[in-house]
């Protein structure tokens, strides 16, 4: 046996082998996911990209957590008008009540809010860039491509709107990032951000179908876009911009009202079939203009809000299909006293709130503080441990109140404005007719009428977490008393004391940008009053 021959044969075999195997041996061919270059080629891709926006960024702020409440409620905590039984460990609640929030002590929360909104904006930007390039005439139904673009614009506007309310000036980014070019962006003035929001919403509104959200396959519709537009105009008209867009707000709100697609849910009785209890249980009412959708019909999309309807200790009764409960949005007396108990159905037991519960025969437990009955889902609590209740983002009652205020501001206390406020109030004041209520309101001055609208917004929308938005734009802080229940007066928020004794300063009308984002982006600067001195 000639060893050298064997050896040389072996070597040549190996070298041949290596050259063959070298062919694409180190190429990467991922199979779990597509790369961006492979995506956005078909109508199905376009749908997937837009579907995602229904569960991205701002939309996730409506996900409840039994300890922390929900991101959408951070403004409610900062207002000092809601408490959380787990305040000790949920420090954002504590710092909000102390008014000691800083870029460092709530850095995690501020970072995630900013990140989530921009992540959704980036996804919308990607969809807006690529969907127009898709050539798939068979895949798209008529008008679908345009509708998908309109939905993407809506969600971009929705996320920018939240950012601008929370932080003021924010970088305005309208193209998706695909490399590191130009990543350090300066803050864009609030007014310019609003201009873009309005542009997106108007373009969306022109394309989207005129239909109620709940009858449009739970997709945003023309009335959803117009409702958001009205809200945007209201914010722009107030602080910090104070650009008078009340007329535009009125127009947008009227577009919704006059579309005829929405209506207020009516009381069937004044107990468990009241409008509020129907809202508590039903998802598909035309009162809903936009909701965060939840379901039990497919796994992984349930809601936890019902766990926030009982105090912590109630879990020990052993009657629930949940181990944990927490009164994470417990209304402070300022809110409770905003309702007239003689007139207002909403403050009756088991409408918006409840104060006690009979958990077994002859054992009535009285709570230390009222808890939100509106979040209670009986089937989930007692039978399944799974709640599919949607959470309202915009309800028709809000549009009516917006219209009332916008019309009063731009046209005066007209009968139309009075009528809209009376619509909302008369549903609660069941002992009075709408006409009686309207008559009382007609006599009011423009200023007093507007304050009545604010008070009504407080009563109607507090559990939808709209209060802080109103404080930001009006710079007015509600004051009530137990001696004069149902009467709400408003004081300048700057200098006002919250129920915990802390005093609001101008800086609190915006939140601090997280120290992490400031480090990541040298072009950013902190909001006034939150700068750290090193």
């Amino acid at each position: 046996m000639n060893i050298k021959n064997i050896f040389l044969g072996f070597i040549s075999l190996l070298l041949t082998g290596s050259i063959i195997s070298c062919n694409s041996f180190l190429d990467e061919n991922p199979k779990e996911n597509m790369s961006l270059g492979q995506f956005y080629k078909t109508a199905a891709h376009a749908r997937s990209g837009v579907n995602n926006l229904y569960s991205a960024g701002f939309m996730n702020f409506y996900n409840a957590n039994v300890y922390a409440g929900a991101t959408i409620g951070w403004g409610s905590y900062l207002s000092g008008l809601f408490d959380n039984e787990y305040k000790g460990q949920e420090v954002i609640v504590q710092y909000s009540h102390e008014l000691t929030i800083s870029e460092a002590n709530i850095s995690g929360q501020m970072n995630s809010l900013w990140r989530d909104c921009y992540s959704a904006i980036g996804r919308a930007n990607t969809a807006l860039k690529y969907i127009p390039t898709i050539d798939d005439p068979v895949g798209f139904s008529a008008g679908e491509q345009e509708s998908l673009l309109a939905q993407a614009k809506f969600f971009r506007a929705l996320n920018y709107f939240h950012l601008v309310k929370v932080y003021g000036d924010v970088p305005l980014i309208l193209d998706p990032y695909e490399s590191l070019d130009g990543i350090y962006m300066k803050r864009t003035p609030t007014a310019e951000v609003y201009t873009q929001i309005i542009k997106d919403l108007k373009e969306a509104s022109e394309v989207l179908k005129s239909e109620a959200f709940t009858k449009n396959g739970m997709r945003v519709s023309k009335t959803t876009a117009e409702t958001l537009l009205a809200d945007v105009y209201m914010q722009m008209s107030g602080y910090p911009l104070q650009e008078n867009h009340y007329k535009d707000a009125a127009t947008a709100a009227r577009n919704v009202i006059n579309s005829g697609k929405h209506s207020l849910t009516k009381n069937i009785d004044e107990d468990q079939q009241s409008a509020y209890n129907i809202l508590r249980m039903e998802d598909n009412l035309t009162e809903y203009i936009f909701s965060k959708e939840r379901t039990t019909s497919t796994s992984g999309f349930t809601s936890n809000w019902t766990q926030l309807s009982f105090p912590v200790y109630a879990a020990a009764w052993g009657i629930f299909k949940y181990t944990l409960t927490n009164n994470a949005f417990s209304p402070m007396p300022t809110i409770v006293n905003a309702y007239n108990p003689d007139k207002d159905l909403r403050i009756k037991e088991r409408q918006f709130f409840f104060n006690s519960y009979e958990y077994k025969t002859d054992s009535i437990s009285k709570f230390k503080a009222p808890a939100p009955w509106l979040y209670m889902d009986e089937e989930a609590m007692f039978e399944t441990g799974l709640s599919g209740k949607d959470f309202p983002i915009y309800r028709y009652s809000e549009v009516l109140l917006t219209a009332a205020e916008a019309i009063a501001q731009s046209e005066g206390v007209t009968s139309e404005a009075v009528g809209y406020l009376a619509d909302v109030r008369s549903r609660a004041y069941t002992k009075q007719t709408k006409e009686e209520i309207a008559a009382e309101l007609t006599a009011l001055s423009k200023d007093d009428f507007i304050k009545e609208v604010w008070a009504e917004r407080l009563r109607e929308l507090c559990l939808d977490h709209k209060i802080w938005d109103d404080v930001q734009r009006t710079r007015m802080y509600p004051v009530t008393s137990s001696d004069n229940k149902g009467v709400v007066s408003f004081v300048n928020v700057i200098g006002a004391k919250n129920p915990f004794g802390a005093t609001f300063q101008e800086k609190h009308l915006l939140w601090p940008i997280s120290d992490q984002e400031l480090q990541r982006n040298p072009e950013l600067n902190q909001n006034p009053g939150y700068e750290t001195k090193d």
Binding site: S48, G88, A104, G300
Partner: protein, 1028 residues
């Protein structure tokens, strides 16, 4: 093909170089030198077992010429009668023979037992220890086995200097972490590369320790750079047992039985203390928060099932005792080794059953290994090795923050029984009083009814062919596979409060991982006069494929089915699956040269290509150079009789780290489903930014060391200093979130690890009856972040819960630095009176710094062991201490053992060390019942952090070896008794079970951070080793 050629330029040019060097080798091998005017001497060189030795060097003393033996051990050489022939062979003692008038000289070489000329396994071959220029720690199999631990890593602990092994859990098969010479990475794996019999093994933890013959740890660049892109964390080379060398049969049995007990308990309140603390809390609420709570105990504790008429508790349950047990474990190892003329066979069997301290947790292993080695012809040797390893067991949950037993056995209120008299399990809410306890299932209930089965099957094997091409020149080709099949089966029943109530939950996860590897290399070893050459070059292909499937269902109406019939669950989750694959292609060479036994040099070079890297950086080059000077062989040292070994060695080189997730260089879409109109609809989003420039992490390592042997090796001293700079760290570079992305996987930043490895080995006493050996092992390591991203911004990657991110990466600091507030004291009544108390704060709550700061670090400065071995006649005694210094612990559990009282039970400090107006040096906040008045303010502050240094009496073992005459027909018999983990001295501020741990799973920043631990046992073992 043209495209391909340009793309793969690096590959092809490197291949050409390889071929050229290869041919050169062949030429060298063929060279034989003949002297003139001398007679021809022939002969055979064999070992003491008459086996011919191949490749023995035969030299004429004083000349530069020589030859080597062929495959039959034969040689021929021209020599004059006055010449002296020197026969030398690696691993054997050299012999000198005067030629005189002999024409045939047959020689038997003795195996060299001196440590100096020990052979050391290095990557792709062996080297004489004296020629090694790097830092390699050697550990023998029997030292690893001694502790009878389930995992070989536990046995290796403290035996190799510079190798830090953290046993992070007391659970059988629980988490451990291996760090060699500090942590030099942030986002990639910090685990060393495991190479078993030349094949890379992805999961080493469950390997049978008895299969291991020896472990070499390659620590510096000169030794590890031969593994190039995977060598930066050090390399653990494992050589497994084979058949018998020589002829005959050797059957041995090694068995042990162990009893394990709880080594310590956390100091939690009993029933009376809990109620006392509760009442103080109510009093405090009245005093400092204007509440109007009743101060009568009877008003709160009225449930007749739990309290008497005066509100005193009926039960006082010690949950730590109820949830744990004494464990019985046993371990059986059978080895059958046979050797014959041209072949040998080894068979190794193992059964281990290890119980865990927490009820129902256990791990069992069945392991079988077969080896076959043969020399079928004079030019070919072959070897086959196949190992099948199956482990299965039920594990107690160790990660996560919800109410799992390791937590609830601390937090469950003591006044609740395990079961009520009607046989029903208690949980924290089976009380009719409105106390507001946090919902949790009792730990015994969880441990006894929850299934968390872990099945792992590993098939590992390799086959190799060695062609003996020419004297000294071998071509070796080796094909290896490492396949892992894992299955997790979890079922949580419908009645486990806050875990799976009310719907139950069944989960099955399957993982399949297959790595194959083909390596072919040439080795050449020869001696020319005073020149000794040891060279190797080769190439390698590897590919790893990973697939997983996951399914989960809830909605069980009956707990009967468990994971055995998932269809019964009415609320199925969408199934999930995944796939990933990576491949590597490498070329490597090593040249080692020694002159006159005094001066050595080793050069290594490796070119690695990996699929994981960006299109622009697929290949990289990893070189190293090592130098050594055997000073004791110099003439001027010959008179220094007390020093028998003195060696100075140094090396510099580059190694890489590519142990991170696949596809990171590509911009990938994330895909899944979301909800629209009550339906699951497809959803997609841009998941990350691409980085076509992504490349290796490179570690530049300098090493210098001194080995000293004195008084005939009675005192051995090895010390080395290293400086490891890891550059181009692969990590998520934080970018502004406004881009829509949080980070991009980039090469950024730099970390330095520098330190000293020290090993002192002394024979203090040795005489015929008594001997005493001492080993002191120490590693000092200083870890520092030199650079981070473009703006040197802080990076937060650690666990994110109370107070946000709990660790920080900051330039100038160590990795694993804890991030939180300083606790400056407590808000007092004076503060309240003078208006200093902030709105919303309460008297007695913690006063904290305005800003967060670094509170400590989880990576130690110094680790090591101190081991003493004694023998007296037939008795042997080992006393093994292990120590860690210069480290802190983040006691994350403080959040719930101190700051959540009222929701749960807590530490005794809540009652005895709480702030009151008169308390001196209070340690905890004034008692506030969390469920009654919003509770303590809980933030990560300095109270959570304590010194983590400790000294552990790791093992005391007493053995007795019987005289061979007494035990015939047995060849050898030893029995032993050992006690492990007898005591640990630790900081008095440490309130957990054991100062060594983490509950952050594989999170690299989680070392020494824990949110409750699986306790570590104290074990007592009785064992026997018998050879037939």
């Amino acid at each position: 093909m043209n495209d391909l050629l340009t793309k793969r330029k690096v590959t092809f040019s490197s291949k050409r170089v390889l071929i050229a060097i290869l041919l050169l080798f062949i030429g060298l091998g063929g060279q034989e030198t003949f002297a003139q005017n001398k007679s021809l001497i022939t002969g055979v060189v064999s070992d003491t077992k008459q086996e011919p030795l191949v490749g023995v060097t035969i030299q004429i003393k004083g000349a530069t010429t020589g030859t080597i033996t062929d495959f039959d051990g034969k040689y021929h050489i021209e020599a004059a009668p006055s010449d002296v022939l020197v026969f030398s062979y690696i691993g054997y003692t050299s012999q000198s023979i005067n030629v005189e008038n002999k024409r045939t000289i047959n020689v038997q070489l003795q195996e060299d037992t001196q440590t100096l000329d020990e052979l050391v396994v290095v990557g792709y071959g062996v080297q004489r220890k004296s020629d090694v220029t790097g830092s390699i720690a050697v550990t023998k199999g029997e030292d690893i086995l001694r502790q009878q631990s389930f995992s070989a890593l536990d046995g290796l602990k403290g035996k190799a200097s510079g190798v830090n092994i953290f046993t992070n859990s007391g659970q059988p098969g629980g988490a451990s972490r291996v760090l060699i010479r500090g942590q030099g990475t942030i986002n990639s794996s910090s685990d060393p590369l495991y190479v078993v019999d030349g094949v890379m093994m992805s999961d080493f933890k469950f390997m049978n320790p008895n299969d291991i013959e020896r472990i070499e740890v390659l620590k510096d660049a000169s030794s590890a750079a031969i593994y190039g892109a995977r060598g930066a964390n050090g390399v653990i080379l494992v050589t497994t047992k084979r058949g018998l060398k020589g002829s005959g049969v050797n059957v041995s049995y090694n068995g042990s039985v162990s009893l394990g007990t709880m080594a310590s308990y956390m100091d939690v309140m009993n029933s009376k203390e809990w109620i006392k603390a509760f009442m103080i809390g109510q009093e405090n609420a009245n005093k400092y928060q204007g509440k109007d709570f009743s101060l009568n105990q009877k008003d709160y504790f009225t449930d007749p099932n739990l309290f008497d008429a005066n509100g005193n508790p009926l039960y006082d349950t010690d949950w730590q005792k109820e949830a744990t047990r004494n464990t019985w474990s046993h371990n059986h190892q059978l080895s059958i080794q046979q050797g014959g003329d041209n072949s040998s066979v080894g068979a190794f069997l193992n059964f281990t059953d290890q119980q865990g301290l927490m009820l129902n947790s256990y791990l069992k292993r069945l392991n079988a290994k077969v080896t076959y080695d043969a020399d079928p012809t004079s030019w070919l040797s072959t070897g086959v090795n196949l190992m099948v390893n199956h482990t299965w067991g039920n594990e107690a949950e160790e990660t996560g923050g919800h109410q799992m037993p390791r937590r609830s056995m601390i937090e469950m209120v003591p006044w609740m029984p395990v079961k009520f008299s009607d046989g029903k399990w208690s949980n924290s809410t089976t009380v009719s009083d409105e106390l507001g306890l946090e919902g949790m299932a009792n730990p015994v209930h969880v441990l006894k009814t929850q299934e968390r089965m872990r099945y792992r099957t590993q098939v590992f094997g390799n086959a190799e062919l060695t062609f003996h091409l020419l004297p000294g020149l071998d071509l070796q080709t080796r094909l290896g596979i490492d396949a892992h099949f894992r299955q997790w089966r979890d079922y949580s029943p419908t009645d486990l409060s806050n875990i799976s109530f009310p719907n139950g939950r069944a989960t099955i996860e399957d993982q399949r991982e297959l790595l194959w590897q083909e390596e072919t290399f040439l080795t050449y070893m020869n001696t020319f006069g005073r020149h000794r050459i040891n060279a190797m070059m080769g190439m390698s292909w590897q590919e790893s494929t990973y697939r997983w499937n996951w399914s989960e269902t809830e909605g069980f109406s009956d707990d009967f089915y468990g994971t055995n019939n998932m269809e019964v669950g009415t609320i199925p989750k969408p199934p999930r699956s995944g796939f990933s694959k990576w491949a590597m292609n490498s070329y490597f060479l090593r040249g080692s040269y020694n002159y006159d036994g005094k001066y050595s040099a080793t050069v290594t070079a490796r070119i690695d290509g990996s699929s994981k890297f960006g299109e622009n950086n697929k290949y990289a080059f990893f070189p190293s150079l090592g130098l050594a000077w055997q000073i004791s062989n110099e003439d001027f040292m010959q008179n220094v009789s007390f020093i028998n070994n003195l060696k100075l060695h140094t090396s510099y080189g580059i190694t890489g780290n590519s142990e991170f997730a696949t596809y990171q260089s590509l911009a990938m879409m994330g895909v899944g489903t979301t909800l629209v109109d009550d339906n699951r609809v497809p959803s997609a989003w841009p998941g990350r930014l691409s980085n076509p420039d992504l490349k290796w992490e490179k570690t530049h390592m300098f090493d210098v060391g001194l080995d000293i042997g004195m008084f005939k090796n009675r005192l051995n001293f090895e010390i080395s200093y290293y400086n490891k700079k890891t550059k181009d760290l692969i990590m998520p570079r934080p970018i502004p979130n406004s881009t829509g992305f949080s980070s991009v996987t980039s090469n950024m930043g730099q970390i330095t690890n520098q330190g000293i490895d020290l090993l002192i080995n002394t024979t203090n006493i040795t005489n015929s009856d008594f001997s005493w050996n001492t080993t002191l092992n120490m590693n000092y390591n200083k870890n520092k972040i030199d650079k981070l991203g473009e703006n040197n911004e802080d990076v937060f990657t650690g666990p994110n819960w109370v107070s946000g991110y709990q660790t920080i990466l900051r330039v100038g600091e160590s990795l694993a630095s804890f991030w939180g507030y300083e606790r400056e004291g407590f808000w007092t009544e004076e503060d309240a009176a003078s208006g200093k108390l902030p709105a919303g704060q309460v008297v007695g709550s913690a006063k904290r710094s305005a800003k967060k700061k670094i509170l400590g670090k989880g990576l130690p400065d110094i680790t090591g062991s101190f081991i003493n071995d004694f023998t007296y006649k037939n008795f042997d005694l080992t006393i093994d201490f292990q120590y860690v210094l210069g480290v802190d612990i983040l006691q994350q559990f403080t959040h719930s053992t101190e700051d959540r009282f009222g929701l749960t039970n807590g530490d005794k400090s809540v009652l005895y060390d709480a702030w009151t107006p008169t308390k001196k040096n209070p340690k905890t906040q004034a008692i506030r019942n969390a469920a009654q008045d919003a509770g303590q303010s809980s933030e990560l502050d300095s109270r959570w952090v304590c010194n983590g240094s400790y000294l552990r009496l790791n093992m005391v073992q007493l053995g007795y070896t019987f005289e061979p005459e007494l035990i015939k027909p047995l060849k050898a018999l030893r029995i032993y008794f050992s006690a492990n983990n007898l005591f640990v001295t630790k900081s008095s501020n440490f309130r957990g079970f054991d100062p060594e741990g983490t509950s952050q799973g594989s999170d690299k920043f989680g070392q020494n951070m824990f949110f409750f631990q699986y306790p570590k046992p104290r074990t007592f073992t009785l064992g026997v080793t018998a050879t037939f």
